[in-house]
């Protein structure tokens, strides 16, 4: 397979998405939700987590233990490796304790 000559168009455009936080992730981040411009390099859920950790100490504390972070893309469960696609809403939360 050869690389196509045309570069993907989104390379230079930072994507704007809504991030939503629940339970102790929300408490540590200090926000319920926010609109952010994702770096173009963020392609998966895990990429977003790792980028958020660099923002400040609150995010770093919220996302310190990556194994405890669950995520949803546009309100559907996603795994760390799930690609963001065209998701407009990304939610992060601890393991669920309903029922």
């Amino acid at each position: 397979m050869t690389q196509t000559l045309a570069e993907p168009v989104q390379v230079a455009t930072a994507r704007s998405v809504r991030l939503i936080y629940f339970a102790w992730v929300r408490e540590r981040v200090g926000l319920s939700e926010e609109e952010v411009a994702l770096p173009a390099s963020a392609e998966t859920v895990l990429d977003v987590v790792r980028w958020l950790k660099t923002r400040d100490e609150g995010y770093a504390a919220a996302f310190a233990d990556e194994k405890l972070i669950r995520a949803a893309l546009d309100r559907v469960h996603a795994k760390p490796g799930t690609r963001l696609g065209n998701a407009r809403e990304i939610a992060f939360f601890p393991p669920m304790t309903g029922g």
Binding site: F22, R75, V76, H77, F93, P94, P95, M96, T97, G98
Partner: protein, 166 residues
């Protein structure tokens, strides 16, 4: 005269529409069972699960239930449709409360009805395992001594229980 079509033959082919509610208010078991079974003569089994808030030996004053409003109903509906596809159900209801719930109060209700008991038991059991591990709800403890305790941690046994169905 239009001949009666035996109800069983209809049930076998159509997938039912589950009733899903996410609400702050309490719910009533008898009302919900009646909504699924009143006037019907084709139901052989009704299984209900009611989850209540425990006082943890007197240490708990209340549970605070946080949820993801946009996702909770959609996720429970997804699981309910899967249950209605796997088992021959005549009805399925799932209700989950949010907000502050005190010991002795109801938190969650699942009702599954079917012609036969195994389907009703298994579907209700399945729904509860998935509500525990996939419905976006989080519980925080408010303690009897007036302080706010921590967030309830997810249990490995709940994940293990959910794996029984895969």
């Amino acid at each position: 005269m239009v001949p009666d079509i035996p109800r069983d033959s209809v049930v076998g082919t159509d997938v039912i529409t589950p009733t899903i509610r996410i609400q702050r208010e309490n719910f009533d078991l008898a009302t919900e069972v009646a909504a699924l079974s009143a006037g019907r003569r084709d139901i052989g089994a009704v299984v209900s699960f009611t989850g209540l808030c425990r006082d943890e030996g007197g240490t708990l004053r209340a549970l605070e239930l946080e949820h993801y409003p946009g996702m909770a109903e959609a996720e429970i509906a997804r699981v309910a449709i899967e249950a209605a596809t796997r088992w021959p159900l005549t009805g399925l209801t799932a209700i989950h409360r949010f907000g502050l719930v005190e010991p002795g109060e109801q938190i969650v209700l699942v009702i599954a009805t079917s012609t036969h008991r195994r389907a009703a038991f298994e579907a209700a059991d399945f729904m509860m395992d998935y509500l525990k591990t996939r419905a976006p709800f989080w519980k925080r403890e408010h303690l009897a001594d007036g302080t706010t305790g921590g967030w309830v941690e997810a249990k490995q046994e709940d994940d293990d229980a959910a794996l029984r169905w895969s």
